[in-house]
Symmetry: none
Subunit: 203 residues, 4 copies
């Protein structure tokens, strides 16, 4: 008989020694990151400044975010309200609900500047880009795929659409607005894009 089978002596993945990551520090850094993105933008983003404002050491920042862009992406994602899956029978509304958080989120204060910075960071740094695309995949692409598959089954839209193309159509105007136009998304944006997507996918 092994110790494992005897039961009481089993040590299930014993925690390592020493202090754990400081949650207070993590939150302060992310908040300071948002402020710095608004103040300086992505190009002039300064890690020193974030450290100063968060009363954190640069060491701590570099320990947990080896790439600066990842920190910005994480800070931006924290601003986007979590999606509430709509079960409405109005499919356009269900699609709009997916990107509604962007519309809503970017209208609070300078949140659009934070998102713009994070998008640029995702474009500049490989790791940040992956973080961002992963988030998009689970929060936009996957739910959208479900909705569209359902509609295709009912023959409400054509069957040969490309899911990535559909995502692109749905959100690229938002990025254009945020990055090139440097502005929040206007009221009704989400619904408008949803309608446009459905029109483009009409059989």
């Amino acid at each position: 008989m092994t110790e494992d089978s005897s039961g009481k002596k089993t040590k299930p993945a014993r925690r390592r020694q020493g202090p754990r990551r400081s949650e207070a520090s993590r939150l302060a850094i992310l908040e300071a990151t948002r402020e710095e993105l608004v103040r300086s933008g992505w190009r002039k983003f300064s890690v020193d400044s974030v450290a100063r404002n968060a009363r954190a050491s640069k060491q701590t920042i570099y320990r947990w975010w080896p790439a600066t862009g990842s920190m910005c992406v994480e800070a931006a994602i924290g601003l986007i309200p979590s999606v509430t899956a709509s079960t409405s029978s109005d499919t356009a509304a269900r699609i709009a609900a997916l990107i509604q958080p962007f519309e809503t989120g970017t209208r609070n204060g300078n949140a659009h500047a934070v998102l713009r910075g994070a998008l640029m960071a995702a474009g500049d740094e490989k790791a940040a880009g992956e973080s961002w695309r992963n988030w998009m995949k689970s929060n936009i692409r996957a739910p959208l795929r479900l909705i569209l598959a359902e509609m295709a089954a009912k023959q409400t839209i054509r069957r040969d659409y490309d899911i990535d193309e559909a995502v692109n159509l749905l959100i690229s105007p938002a990025w254009h607005n945020l990055i090139v136009m440097r502005a929040p998304l206007k009221d009704g944006f989400a619904r408008e894009q949803a309608d446009r997507l459905l029109k483009a996918l009409a059989p």
Copy 2:
């Protein structure tokens, strides 16, 4: 009679003394700018590096381009082939011709990286943004307005479209592709977008 002919002391925009701007230097700087955008991207774009590689002095760069972003926009515009106004009766083709240069231009070497950098610069710096929007206005918006007006008159598309919205629809997928996806535009991109725009504008 003009003032010029009236008096011998009039100086009709007399040229200043001393040597004129060096064209060789200007071209070398723009070329080095493109290389630097490919090598380092917009965030890490270094004026020192451009000066080194162009064998130019920093003074010369700052004299002619007070803002770094303007230099990048100018460098990128130099890569886009000049538009050849199509007189085809196929309106989709005429629209596609407008953005064809982006598709063509970004498929040569690392040109897409240069364009990405310039777009980010235009988003970051006011002066660069204006340069870029001016170029877009005369090279995309104005011709597109003519074509769409013609079509609206023939009732091929609906009449209440918004021209800025139309430009947005036409090119935002390109920017998304270049900035977020970090990739050149794929073959047939221009025609595809033109078709999609017409579909969206259908009466």
Copy 3:
């Protein structure tokens, strides 16, 4: 009668609870200190590095050596062979024997670099300086005082010498050699200095 015998509840300097100081750790730290002094010198001496190489925690080091310099002095003293009091009738030999350990000790490996580091530490930090001067007092100054007093009584040397001045004369060339010249003491050094001291003290 002592207090101890009077009552059963008396705690005669009872040892504290818990484990006592780890001798293994202490030795490992002193050894790592010597290596670090050789590798990096006093100016770049790193406590982190000592902790790493001794597989000790920084906490342990700071607990027992509040000042870094004291650790270096202790490490260096450990290298100096203990003096064997000579009873020779040759007084020059008896004096030479006092500083012979420096000559002998600094000729083994990189011991001279350790001693140099410790001397600098003693010059930089008050506590380290005191440790060092205390050691010098009991190991050099006190025995030398005895020898010289004996000689003065026999009128072999003059009577009005200053003991501190004598110590200075005896060892300052050693420090000069170690610190400024960065070299071990050469063969015969101890005897030479002893002779020179006696000559200077001649009546």
Copy 4:
């Protein structure tokens, strides 16, 4: 005939383009270096602090003093009054005059702390050590050699002395006093050492 021989067109080592080294900056840095050596000593000497106090950029410091120690040595040498060659017939006085500047210089304010720092720097860094030894060679060793050679010729001292040993005897008590004792040299130090050296070199 070459241009050189013709005379007037000769360009003797034409000065290079661009600005020359700033003397004001150099002096401010050396002064701040002295203050920093007094404030922090050699071990905790901070280039950042020097830059701050001298209102200079670190770049400028590292451009002209690749090694920190060299800067300290240069700063210290600037404090030592230039030696005035004595032509006295009193040879002890002539020797004392050589090291008089140390005695005089280290009694002004905290100059002894500056010299101590520079000596430690010379012990720690190769380049600084060479700078220091070069200065010593031309300012102490060379003049002393002349004086002693003269005396040896007159048979006032013995002939088989070693010049480096003589220098060592003359100044090692000074270093001991400055480094280990952390004190200025006491009044009459120079003369005392000169007398002692002559006694040691007596035939």
